[in-house]
Symmetry: C2
Subunit: 431 residues, 2 copies
Amino acid sequence: ALAIEPIELPDVCQTLNSFQWAGVFEGLTNDQRIKLWAFIPVELQSTVLAVMREDARNQFIAVLPQQVIAEAISSATNAEVMGILDVLPKRTAAKLVNKLDPVMQSVLETSLSYSSNQVGRYANANVYTVNEKASVKDLINEIKSSDITNDGGSYFVVDDSLIYVGEVKISDILNSSQKTDVKELVIPNEKVILDQASLLEASDLVRGSNKAALPIVTKTGVFLGQFSIHDALDVFQAHYEEQLAHMGKVSDEDLFAPVAVSARRRAVWLGINLVTAFLASFVIGIFDAVLIEVVALAVLMPIVASMGGITGSQTLTLTIRGLATGQLGKGNFKVLRSKELKVAAINGVLWAMLVTVVTMYWFDNPGLSSILALAMVVNMTIASFAGIMIPMILDKLGIDPALAGSVILTTVTDVTGFFVFLGSATLLFIH
Amino acid sequence: ALAIEPIELPDVCQTLNSFQWAGVFEGLTNDQRIKLWAFIPVELQSTVLAVMREDARNQFIAVLPQQVIAEAISSATNAEVMGILDVLPKRTAAKLVNKLDPVMQSVLETSLSYSSNQVGRYANANVYTVNEKASVKDLINEIKSSDITNDGGSYFVVDDSLIYVGEVKISDILNSSQKTDVKELVIPNEKVILDQASLLEASDLVRGSNKAALPIVTKTGVFLGQFSIHDALDVFQAHYEEQLAHMGKVSDEDLFAPVAVSARRRAVWLGINLVTAFLASFVIGIFDAVLIEVVALAVLMPIVASMGGITGSQTLTLTIRGLATGQLGKGNFKVLRSKELKVAAINGVLWAMLVTVVTMYWFDNPGLSSILALAMVVNMTIASFAGIMIPMILDKLGIDPALAGSVILTTVTDVTGFFVFLGSATLLFIH
């Protein structure tokens, strides 16, 4: 479907796996991606699309002809198809689904009944299951004739209504007579993932188990597919990369998203920051009288705000991680708060002393140095307090602290820093 | 070894797996950890220690009696023991090793010959391998009698000198006569991990393969053990959490590390930040004449620095991720640079216009509003340029851009912002 221009690909491309191809594509512009697409072995295409980082995939699929997408997903697993359908306009998605074979269509229908954060949506139905009524002989024949891999040395067993009943181990199979029913060998497995679980919950469950994959079941016990430790790794990576992006005040975006798209997304963060910056400016504006009097205040005021900002950010980062991992809760947050306040106070006093010495040499004004030191200690302590309270409160309100926390914190440290520093200067210098 | 005080544990503790126990321990102070330790089932103890986040584990092991550690590691795998030995003083570590059984001692000796970032150090030797000379009958008997799980449906095959020769699939085993030598069924596997590979390289390899684990071999082909997708997940998580911590200007530290330890570690980041802050102050100090003349400059100058900081941070974050994932290199960094500069310029002009309107209402001074707008556009564009060049240069010098990048960037955006804003104000207002 795509015109193949004569491009010379390095030999190494012959041996790339789908992850490596995805990496190559993430490093290209959309124009280059389209040109290179035809060179990816057909059997890898759907996986390459599925494992590309989300926004890069979105940007690319948006410019890929429908027919090419249809070819790519014709051999895809249902979980891969879901990742691709997720980003297409509904009509286009519906058209594509209609072209797939009926079995896949019904699997996709089930997947589509879940929201984008529920693990049921991405249950990999492409796994081998044994009916409990099968005999050991049947099962062995199946294993002999197929290429199925049994992650973790056992197979999923279901009953006639596709209800998950447990697993059967290869050692038990080999130890039994060929006539035995699989039913007799089933080990009930309580480690299942409910279809409604979030992707992160599902990932934690697989990780905590010693298994390479866990079954996903509905409330009534119907087996939907598996969720593997490979899937868990993808989920964790996407989660952490999103958090990192947000800390850098950027969406989790394609390196080569169109300029207009990138500019619009970043504008949101810049706009929010501008409100914060103006707020700080207004606080400074309140004290313009003392700034005219003592110009050194304008020179030194960024130090107060900046040291408070870093202190708060340190506590905020630990608190957010503690909340995300479940290490931190009602039971121990007061212990942490008292610890963090002590750490901030110690560092506040330490660095305030150094700053006092430096500014005494610079401005030779004991009053100025004293209020600078005072403002630093106060701002750093309050910053630390805010660094633990802001995420705790956001978390209680159901707002992601990683997203909103640092903006609010910066507002607090800027406003507090300027207010305490310039306010005490006003008391000291304006008579 | 530890006195068990009468604590009532909730019933749920009975069912915790080692990951969940580790999570509980990370949320406790050292005093509480010691009290709770004896309640962990002995067979889980070594794993709990091994999967605890590194700094929490370090803090805890430092206060744990030697005999208790010895008990915990007596049933541990070599990879788990390595994680524990890594943080002990050399003498204590040597004493503990001497108490282990000779086989484990020799495995550990091999592990210890690798550096802490080489995958050879953490090769899990606790896996089942088949000698190529074994018959299918021997192998089947082995599978029948043991609880070995064959991650991915195949077994590692080695020769008499423990050289890794490939893998044998369960389907091939079942399809062959009992007298067949395993040797005839071996599928040579080129997907191996070299012992000298870094942990991140090894993790990428396992992830890119469709396998649940890959063999780790020496240069001469000797099988050392396996590296599983579970291990890869641990490595990725530690890597990302470290990056997140560094972006928050904090080491990857235990939530409940002692106050003195935390204060000392954070002081490093605060000290570096103070140098940056003073540099900005000196730049402002150059222009004190104009600040006395026009106090509104002091009110507005944080806006210029802050908008530049966010813009730079956005580009920096994407660049660092691009470098870390290999999406970004010599071939495409100019394309990205040009894109980022366009994005920054668009947003610079956009927000500068808004700021002009607001400040015109506020100060009614067209000259002031104009230089503010100019300084914003210049600073945001330079910030974006710096955001891509700083990590590229650091990467070339072999310095981790995630660690040093944002400090250098803040220095650039503060100094540039204040210099351009106050410098042009001096030209305009000082006659």
